[in-house]
């Protein structure tokens, strides 16, 4: 399989107004985009959704087409049949115009309006993300028949959902890829506990209790908040963060000892949360588990998602506490244990840590991308872009695109193959550049300008790093490091020179400029004005550099 130049990936997150489908797909798309960037493939990301919380897409930088959710159809006075007709046509037309290279559907293989079987042939590859659903759904013949339309079925299931997984795997055979649960929690992007507590408005000395009802669209969310507030009573040692979710329509709860959180991006700040009271939806539960937050789960009743079973399973494994919403004494007791029984909290925390729960979105993305990109490239991307690499790159202020560009420029001539591209030297260089006061983009410009042509001999990574670092830390750059990219871009290219040779030649120009008392901007300007007319040696001669006299140029 050859690498395509671009990929159009479309996700189908159409079901009700909730956030769950959308969040799962967004979690996968983040990794699809990272891996595609690593592969040097331009990727387009589109979403078809009915979620009323589609601003999540804006925050994540994905494009979304929004259809009104079923829950607003009636209040808006829209006839149900007209809505259904419109919705079907909308999906068909969207797919007909977008013609995705990869179409990713969440949970419902036939689509929410039974419209997908007639439209999947408009997509080059179709895949389904199928978390375990209630038995009745899986047992439905049409549901099982529709599974055969997908080339890949991602099963983001927990370890304790073996039966449900086996049922799915039996239905789809070798097309299933079991990955483990997905969420928006990315450990490498998590804020430090202090930063998170600051963002959540938690005062010093107080413990942070998060109360969340997922997307906030369910009727029980207000009741859950009220119940928590009653059970807590007047306590000063606990600061409550009410994560109402973008769909919450009830009354806001604001006070001196609480924060009313409505923005996106809460998953980054879970490092500042000490414990949580949460609905038992797939995403909310797994975000808390992935972040290692001890939680009291309060299940809600849903059509396809069996929250009671999930909460009971996790409680049985000792990974969470659970209590029903309609049993206030039991809820209060469970909350009391979570808040005041340090041993219970620590045991929960230890068991979650021991269970090794993490976000499996990257595995899901890799399994999907293998449909459209060479497997060797995808696997290498997955191996290279680990949490450590991404965290270091983020700390060095580099976007992934810059990092990959830099890694390509640092690769030995002619070997910038995406199936063997090594990002470690690039990260190391970005860290050194940051220390020297140069941005990721500027250092990429420097390396790209000096990077050898195909015929140049290769140089070892350590030698390259030292050579580029020597340029960045050259005394001639003192006070004028920002002029270095322009200077190296203005220098004539060296034929058949390795990156180390090119750095040495540029270093000689820096030496000469320093000795001649000339600014780098001035040297760059003159070299640019005579680009194509002068050689390195001419530039050195003009600067009357000592290296020329020593015959080292």
């Amino acid at each position: 399989m050859e690498l395509p130049r671009s990929l159009r990936i479309v996700s189908y997150a159409v079901n009700g107004r909730g956030l769950g489908h959308l969040a799962r797909q967004v979690a996968i798309h983040r990794w699809l985009r990272r891996y595609a960037t690593f592969a040097g493939v331009r990727s387009e990301h589109w979403f078809l959704t009915t979620s009323e919380a589609d601003t999540l897409l804006l925050h994540e930088g994905f494009a979304g087409f929004k259809l009104p959710s079923k829950s607003v159809v009636e209040p808006a006075g829209i006839d149900k049949t007209s809505y259904l007709a419109l919705a079907k046509q909308w999906v068909w037309h969207s797919l007909g115009l977008l013609r995705p290279d990869l179409f990713v559907v969440d949970t419902f293989p036939e689509g929410s309006f039974d419209e997908l079987p007639a439209a999947l042939d408009l997509c080059k590859h179709a895949a389904l993300v199928l978390r375990p659903v209630k038995h009745d759904f899986m047992a439905s013949p049409s549901f099982r028949a529709a599974l055969s339309l997908y080339q890949r079925v991602i099963v983001p299931a927990d370890d304790d959902e073996e039966d449900a997984c086996a049922q799915i795997e039996a239905a789809v055979g070798g097309r299933a890829r079991r990955t483990g649960p997905l969420s928006l929690v990315e450990r490498f992007a998590a804020a430090s506990p202090d930063e998170a507590r600051g963002a959540l408005g938690v005062p010093a000395g107080a413990r942070c209790l998060l109360v969340t009802g997922g997307g906030g669209g369910d009727d029980d969310v207000g009741a859950l908040m009220a119940l928590t507030e009653r059970a807590l009573g007047p306590r000063d040692d606990v600061h409550v963060v009410y994560a109402a979710g973008p769909l919450y329509q009830g009354e806001a709860r604001r006070s001196a000892r609480s924060t009313w959180w409505t923005s996106a991006g809460l998953s980054r700040f879970l490092t500042g949360v000490d414990m949580a009271v949460s609905a038992a939806g797939f995403n909310a539960v797994h975000e808390l588990l992935h972040a290692g937050v001890p939680a009291l789960l309060v299940p809600q009743r849903k059509i396809a998602d069996d929250q009671h079973a999930r909460a009971a399973r996790l409680a049985a494994r000792g990974l969470a506490l659970t209590a029903p919403l309609d049993d206030e004494p039991r809820f209060a007791a469970a909350l009391g244990a979570l808040l005041d029984d340090g041993r219970t909290r620590e045991e929960l925390r230890a068991r979650v840590a021991a269970a090794g729960m993490r976000n499996h979105a990257r595995e899901a993305a890799a399994a999907l991308l293998e449909l459209v990109l060479p497997r060797s490239v995808v696997r290498h991307a997955a191996a290279e872009l680990d949490d450590d690499a991404l965290a270091r790159a983020a700390r060095a202020g580099a976007e992934l695109g810059d990092l990959v560009d830099l890694a390509g420029a640092l690769a030995p001539a002619g070997e910038a193959d995406r199936a063997s591209l090594d990002v470690d030297p690039a990260i190391e260089l970005l860290e050194r550049a940051r220390e020297a006061g140069m941005s990721a983009r500027e250092v990429t410009r420097v390396v790209r300008a000096l990077a050898p042509r195909r015929r140049a001999r290769a140089a070892d990574a350590a030698g390259v790093l030292d050579a580029v670092t020597a340029l960045l830390e050259h005394p001639a750059c003192l006070g004028q490091l920002s002029s270095l990219p322009r200077l190296v871009e203005a220098l004539p290219p060296l034929k058949d020179a390795s990156l180390v040779d090119a750095c040495a030649a540029a270093g000689a120009v820096l030496d000469a400029a320093l000795a001649a008392g000339r600014s780098l901007a001035d040297v760059a300007s003159r070299a640019a004005a005579r680009r194509g007319e002068v050689s390195h040696r001419d530039i050195l001669v003009e600067l009357e550099g000592p290296l020329v006299r020593e015959g080292q140029a």
Binding site: P475, L481, R486, S519, S525
Partner: protein
């Protein structure tokens, strides 16, 4: 009397003549293109100078007031005095840390004494090494000497059987070596020579290693001294470099702006206005020279190549016997093979005049972006520049505006005219 038609033979001849002219014309265009390249190179330098002029006018010094004024004028807060002062302090600290590290390095503090010691030690090595190099070198150059040493010739270790060719070859070479070098080294056989060589080799390698180590240390000390000098020089030039770098950053920021925006930035400042006009004018010169190249060199060359290809095709075709009797209308013939020398010369003259006007123009103060386009300023309106889209567009818009203005003056309530202008 001239007939109304011409023969195929006439067409073939005319095509050949025209191709000769085309070849000469293409050569002339190539020469023009070279001259054009030279003119363009001059402009590249002129643009660099113009930007230097503009950034110097914008940032005359590191004076806080000047910096803050410039930062506000071009909306670039990183040029403000506070930001630059912080940058300067960071850079100074970095250089001081480097210098402190060098000054604390014992190799640097004790460099003079150590350099002396190293020089003495190297001289000691130099006393012994050349003789050993010479003595071992002459043996090593002998054919098969290394093999004899490796195989242990002359020792009990030597295992070669007398029935092999190698045995006799080794014997011969060993005897030759002993014959040649034995007397000088006081060795009667290969075993003694070998013993002597190995002793000398060990001594030589030891001296070589010592020399390399001493030289490496010497280089490290020299490197430290050189680094110390360079960091001190860099520190002395810190302010100059900061200013130059700030100007380069300002240039990078301004380069992306169109002329109108640049002009707006310079409003109310005569020096800056002149500098902006110069940048704008030189940028226009670049665009105009590119347009002239396309219009007067690349396009004609393309047309000529097409004509030549057609002539070649027709010559091949009409030389076939079956076309020998064909005739062609004279009018078509004359139109196709008309003498183009004069027309070409006029066109070339127009190009040269335009190029000269552009390259030699220096009155940048005459610029008024709202009233006149650079082309008309540079050519005094004498030359038609409508083959350049921006000039043509300006003239079209300007004519509309004039028309609208005339209509207004004439008291006509012609709304369509005004909507065109807006």
């Amino acid at each position: 009397m001239i007939g109304s038609s011409v023969s195929a033979r006439d067409v073939v001849h005319a095509a050949r003549r025209q191709n000769e002219w085309i070849a000469a014309e293409i050569a002339a265009l190539a020469a023009m293109e070279r001259e054009h390249g030279t003119a363009k190179a001059t402009l590249v330098r002129a643009l660099e100078d113009a930007w230097a002029h503009l950034t110097e006018a914008l940032l005359p010094s590191l004076d806080a007031g000047a910096l803050d004024h410039a930062a506000r004028a071009i909306a670039m807060p990183q040029l403000g005095s506070a930001a630059l002062a912080k940058r300067r302090a960071d850079e100074e600290r970095r250089a001081q840390e480097r210098l402190a590290a060098i000054h604390a390095d014992p190799r640097f503090t004790g460099r003079e004494a150590r350099k002396n010691e190293l020089a003495i030690a190297l001289a000691g090595v130099a006393d012994h090494l050349p003789a050993l190099e010479e003595s071992t070198g002459v043996l090593e150059q002998e054919p098969r000497f290394f093999e004899l040493i490796e195989r242990g010739y002359g020792t009990e270790r030597y295992q070669q059987g007398w029935w092999t060719f190698s045995y006799y070859r080794d014997w011969k070479h060993a005897d030759l070596v002993v014959e040649k070098h034995g007397p000088a080294k006081g060795c009667a056989d290969f075993a003694a020579l070998r013993e002597r060589y190995l002793e000398e080799r060990v001594a030589r390698d030891t001296f070589r290693a010592e020399q390399a180590k001493l030289e490496q240390e010497q280089r490290a000390i020299e490197g430290l001294v050189s680094d110390e000098t360079r960091w001190r020089e860099a520190l002395q030039r810190l302010d100059d470099n900061l200013l130059a770098s700030a100007r380069a950053d300002a240039r990078a920021h301004l380069e992306a702006l169109p002329d109108e925006h640049l002009a707006r930035l310079a409003e109310g400042d005569a020096t800056l206005t002149t500098a902006v006009a110069r940048v704008s004018g030189v940028r226009a010169k670049h665009r105009y020279l590119d347009a002239l190249l396309r219009e007067h060199i690349i396009k004609p060359r393309h047309d000529l190549a097409r004509m030549k290809a057609k002539n070649d095709r027709d010559r091949v075709k009409l030389m076939r016997p079956k076309h020998a009797g064909r005739s062609f209308p004279r009018a078509d013939y004359e139109r196709r093979f008309q003498d183009r020398v004069e027309k070409t010369a006029r066109r070339r003259e127009r190009y040269l005049e335009a190029r000269r006007s552009i390259v030699e123009f220096h009155d940048y103060h005459r610029w008024d972006p709202s009233a006149i386009v650079w082309w008309d300023v540079m050519t005094d309106g004498r030359l038609d520049g409508d083959f350049i889209p921006e000039v043509e567009e300006f003239h079209r818009e300007h004519a509309r505006a004039q028309h609208a203005s005339a209509a207004y003056d004439a008291g006509r309530d012609d709304l369509s005219t005004f909507s065109d202008v807006s």
